[in-house]
């Protein structure tokens, strides 16, 4: 399997560890084998040097020059509709789903149980119709 996600200027990354974990940012410049400079003015990530071990590469990129300023970055993000594209990926959806599940109250979990029961009742009835 060839590599499709490269660490390059303009690659959108997801920060995995640290105070900004869970947010996306762009690689603005590469320092060396282990570190890069990221910036995410739209997502609230301060411009900083971060090691590759703390980030995950995504499939999205934006067209920017090396060392782009925050203003240029914001414009490039808006042009590429990065935030909407990211939120539409199943990766982002899974992350938000996990977050939501972690904040459920007992009443919410009760509602989930009732909804699951209703869903399986519909499926069971349909299966009975089809097998009859």
């Amino acid at each position: 399997m060839p590599f499709t996600r490269y660490a390059e200027v303009g690659r959108i990354v997801l920060v995995n560890y640290g105070p900004e974990s869970g947010k996306i940012a762009t690689i603005v410049d590469i320092v060396d084998q282990n570190k890069c400079l990221i910036d995410g003015p739209e997502s609230g990530v301060a411009r900083q040097v971060i090691p590759f071990s703390r980030i995950a590469l995504t499939d999205l990129t934006v067209k920017i020059q090396r060392n782009a300023r925050a203003k240029t970055l914001k414009a490039a993000w808006a042009e590429a509709e990065t935030t909407t594209k990211w939120e539409a990926t199943s990766w982002a959806k899974k992350l938000s789903m996990k977050k939501k599940r972690a904040t459920l109250t007992d009443f919410d979990r009760f509602k989930v149980m009732v909804a699951k029961k209703q869903k399986s009742a519909i499926i069971a009835k349909k299966m009975e119709e089809l097998s009859a």
Binding site: M1, F3, T4, R5, Y6, A7, E8, V9, Y17, D29, I30, V31, D32, Q33, L37, R47, V49, F52, S53, A56, L57, D59, R66, N67
Partner: protein, 183 residues
């Protein structure tokens, strides 16, 4: 002597103490890399008494001020000329580092000298530092990252479970091997 760690850059100005026949001696200024101002002043006297006839007891420090990086939002290439003593003799060296700040590059230098040459910080004297343009780089390692359009994949990603990070997997036991290929 100089304890390594995160280095800071200080401008230290000192002169011989004023006497009756020399009420206004010449002041000398040095840029010193040290972790704190105490060590910076000590290093100042270490160098200055090698270059001129003055020492801490016969002199006074007029000023010791930290120099902060003007722009720490871009990655620069730093060339550092140094003199270090190895087990067999003392040598000059030129090394290049890519970093966002000059003090970051100097900290990298001390760590690298310790790792590659077993050289302690006390044996290192920094002669000169300079910001180098991408086309004037001499060492291949920095050159490959300073090139335009640099890109590389991150192969064989091993996540470490050190330092209280989340565990390598969500459950204690698993039936599948972890994956190291993330595209």
């Amino acid at each position: 002597m100089t304890v390594a760690g995160v280095m800071r850059q200080y401008q230290v100005v000192g002169r011989k103490a004023a006497t009756d026949d020399h009420p206004n001696p010449e002041a000398y200024r040095m840029v010193i890399f040290a972790p704190n101002p105490v060590i910076a002043k000590s290093k100042f006297w270490y160098y200055l008494h090698q270059f001129r006839k003055m020492k801490k007891t016969t002199g006074e420090i007029l000023d010791c001020v930290e120099i902060t990086e003007k722009n720490c939002r871009t990655v620069k290439n730093y060339g550092i000329w140094l003199r270090y003593s190895s087990r067999s003799g003392t040598h000059n060296m030129y090394r290049e580092f890519r970093d966002v700040k000059l003090t970051g590059a100097v900290s990298q230098l001390y760590d690298e000298m310790a790792g590659r040459h077993r050289c302690r910080p006390r044996s290192i004297q920094i002669i000169r530092t300079a910001t180098v343009g991408a086309k004037d780089l001499k060492r291949t390692n920095g050159m490959q990252f300073a090139k335009a359009g640099v890109k590389f994949p991150l192969p064989h990603r091993v996540s470490s479970a050190k330092r209280g990070q989340r565990a390598l997997s969500d459950s204690t036991y698993t039936t599948v091997r972890p994956t190291t290929f993330f595209g």
